[in-house]
Symmetry: C2
Subunit: 640 residues, 2 copies
Amino acid sequence: MPAWRPTSHVPADIAPRLLDELPPDAESPVVSFLRRAHARHLVNRDGVVATYIPELASVDPEAFGIVIATVDGAVYEMGDTRKPFTIQSMAKPLTYASILDLYGAAAVRERIGVEPTGDVFNAISLAPATGMPLNPMVNAGAITAVGMVPPARAAGEPGRIDQLLASLGRFAGRRLEVDEAVYRSERDTGHRNRAIANLLRGTGAIDGDPDAVLDAYFRLCAVSVDARDLALIAATLAAGGLHPLTATVAASEDTVRDVLSVMATCGMYDGAGEWLFEVGLPAKSGVSGGILAVLPGQLGIGVWSPRLDGRGNSVRGVAVCRDLARDLDLHLVRGVRPIGAVRTRTSVARRPSKRGRSVPERETLAVEAGRSLVLELQGSIGFVAVETLAREAVIGGERPSAVAIDLRRSTRIDPAVTVLLADLVAGLGTRGAAVAWSAVGGHEAVLDRVDETLAARRLAPPRRFAELDLALEWAEDVVLSRSGASADARPERRFVPLAQHPALRGLDPAAVERLRSALERRDFHPGDALVRHGEPAEELFLVTGGLLSVWVPMGSGDARRLATLDAGDLVGELAFLGREQRTADVRADTEVEAYVLRHEAFEALAAVDPATTTVFLTTLLRIVAGIARRMTDEVVQLAS
Amino acid sequence: MPAWRPTSHVPADIAPRLLDELPPDAESPVVSFLRRAHARHLVNRDGVVATYIPELASVDPEAFGIVIATVDGAVYEMGDTRKPFTIQSMAKPLTYASILDLYGAAAVRERIGVEPTGDVFNAISLAPATGMPLNPMVNAGAITAVGMVPPARAAGEPGRIDQLLASLGRFAGRRLEVDEAVYRSERDTGHRNRAIANLLRGTGAIDGDPDAVLDAYFRLCAVSVDARDLALIAATLAAGGLHPLTATVAASEDTVRDVLSVMATCGMYDGAGEWLFEVGLPAKSGVSGGILAVLPGQLGIGVWSPRLDGRGNSVRGVAVCRDLARDLDLHLVRGVRPIGAVRTRTSVARRPSKRGRSVPERETLAVEAGRSLVLELQGSIGFVAVETLAREAVIGGERPSAVAIDLRRSTRIDPAVTVLLADLVAGLGTRGAAVAWSAVGGHEAVLDRVDETLAARRLAPPRRFAELDLALEWAEDVVLSRSGASADARPERRFVPLAQHPALRGLDPAAVERLRSALERRDFHPGDALVRHGEPAEELFLVTGGLLSVWVPMGSGDARRLATLDAGDLVGELAFLGREQRTADVRADTEVEAYVLRHEAFEALAAVDPATTTVFLTTLLRIVAGIARRMTDEVVQLAS
């Protein structure tokens, strides 16, 4: 939610020039934009209020509200954004959405076309050959759509209008009500719509009692909304049917695509080509003076100003939509190249796992780690993303042994690309690569479908890992096994006699014995903590056997594995030397054998045997310097 | 360019089922998709080849090619993608682009409308009231457009067709030629077009000699292209007019928006609503059997298969477009929420500059650095990006003193958001924040316009920095100066007597004197290197005065500032202890005073005075451990 909100409505008597000179008063630039647009068009008093029923004629003709709502729930309001008016024809796209969700596009298209008509808003607009309505945005199409909503079969069951109100409420994100006075007026004066309904009954576009259908239709047109509702309805359409604030699904993605397609050409009482050319946003207007307009994937716009042009569209509403489209470059065909789906492309040579490796393994990896590929994806993974991913996987004709694809920053995998992803995995397999996904949380369903597609081709599914570091470890293991590295060299099998521990390097046997007298052997079981975050650092551990992991607590309460350690490593050297608090947890992954050097014991030794402690400190310094250098390299890499 | 390319065309007699069982043979998933689509529709032999001129009738009816070209220059081909055919009506959107670029949309719309027509491809389609063509995609509109291209005024000047060929060539990315045989046939049989041209001359839609206009029009229809050309023309439209391979501007962005708007409703010989509903891609077809279709911002599609349906569209071409739209979810109104424009949001507390700070400065920053905000943008910065940026700038009602906005990963700033950015800067100023841009390279023109907008409001322009680290340093300076930190504490003013250098901490005066005898004073001027990347590490420097920077060479030949150092710091301690090669350059930024400890001198001292060297090593170890810890923290932060 934006912290910058309009704090007051613009008084109607402030001239735009004056407004532009007001200090911006720390408001969002979006609000500044709306403020200027509101002031610029407020002076426009062209057009007339609809008068075909008294309730519409009695509205304040000066009323003017503009709202922008983003798909992630920011709402910006300016002017009369909370005053009620009736939804009128703006209910039509939502009614169409209801029946598309109920029956699917094919069945609905048997009754209602998708062709625009240049006719005025209350034209009859039936296709000459079939007698079916040309599209769902004209009255005939909307009445037909209402007729397709199943009526209540028994007392107490929801009737057509109840179902439609529930659907509208999901789009608006709140419970909506019928304005009874407007409904009665519509009903009592709706002779032309009565004629249309009877014609439709005659052609078979609607079944049953036309009066019952009409009653629901009149109530639907009389549903009370405000400009904020229009923007949130539009934002829900922009978000593929998911309401930005309630996170309720108001319609399926396919339905929303079909609704927006029709709104693009048939939504305004206007030339079909002209609206798309001039404004380029799928939109729907109503005779109450509202317009809702949609920039798919990004935002919804709601405008309300009751004076209408000769075609029945809000004069100011059209002007605001044109401003937004032209001044802000919001236009359906104004494509923006998506940010690259591949956020980073590297290998375990540049981004090694935290798993500690034996010397032979390290030597092998130093040569072979470039035979891996680590691709971090971001954003929504659709066709273009997979195309990019496929290219990144084979740049320069490389033939990696292992490809890890990280999904932590992927917001969504479009189910439409299932087969493409299976093709990608299969293609990489043919080129000799094993493939793994990491950070798969939330994407399991689509990955399952990829696996099924592969299984149908008798191909093995990719591995899946919960976090990237584990996939990196897997990639290293693949590289190692392809290089014929021996399993005997695996870290968990190694024990280092204390005298050969790297921390004691450079000491003669007598010095080792003197140092050993200051050390205390200690064993740990899997899960035991050697050091704990926040505790004072009093001990240094020389690990002689087993595997350990270093976990750094993250803000969220999670921990991240920073490193793994094994025989020959040290635990706690940084904090021990600085005499500070531990900044991480170190826990045993296996049975662990270690020797502990307490701080007092070391100081006692230094007092009596400075030569030994000098050598020991120099060795420690080299180890720590190596850590500092590795971390520096990692910083340079991560920041580049 | 993709490394995965089709290596052969699909033989016409391979059934699709068989193809699906072929091993994918390490091809791109995009090629796999095209291969399947090609095989699936190859068996469709519906429709008939156009026969109104013999040259069209003589084409191989089985010919079938599909090409996808992305806006960044990847081209995927399947089937007959390099066989020539004539462009026919697919020249119409490009002719329209030419005159839009020449005259602007307003002047062009006085002669040619933008309304779709359900008429067949060679209908006359003039607006009843004005006699002007309904849209530029019908023959009347295209002939009018050709008539608006200025004729040659003197011998040797390019005529209409020369100008149009040059424009088409920019869209295709290669020089195109007229197929003379087809041209002569079109000319000799084009009676209906001759009638249209004379009608247009009568209504005033074209001026001058209709035969001259018609001659250029017939040549234009007879331009020879292949399916790859169509895809690259479409990709150029998808890229807003920039050819993906030649990087030549074929048309302005506004022109391309207008062209695509008209293609969305008028491009296919089809119901205007139906194409948008079923396929949802702006497209244009021709009677030679080609279709070009555009997914704005992402890709272009070219399909060629000569058999036409009753409306004059390629049967297989329409089917392929529908597959792409439906199977791959490519549809104009299928909006994808852009990846967040704000890639990272942090402060100089979490992301300090590399500038070394004095102790009082560090103490102030430790408390106050959170009063800064560092926002790294990514991708194309349009309205939605600025809206997000504005929200991120005020999350939780924070009131930062300094806001640094980094543009390194911003591909483009839409000129349409100039005023919004000025509003943002002004609004942040009202909230008490100074604002700076970093990594401004390439964005200067738009930022100049932001500055102009601010200047008109008598507001100061934001600072600009070439790289983020300098903006971070600026943000720290702002925070420090707002906190009343003293300028006397600035690092460049400080000198540390050798005896008080942190590296000598813990040594008694006698020990300091003994160590001092092993040290050698050395002075450096601005630009001098203390250590050089790749050289052996033999020396440790204790800096007692001046400022230095550590530069790490990057792969590109650039260097990145990794740190700055000043009085009290060490240079070269890591490599010195490990006896390895230098991994960075360290250069003096000001006059620098330092004391050098050579490796041999240290070893000689250790042999005679182990107690002093123990204390010295312990101190060094603490310093290095501090570096390692800082770097570890930075890794955790950067990786999170």
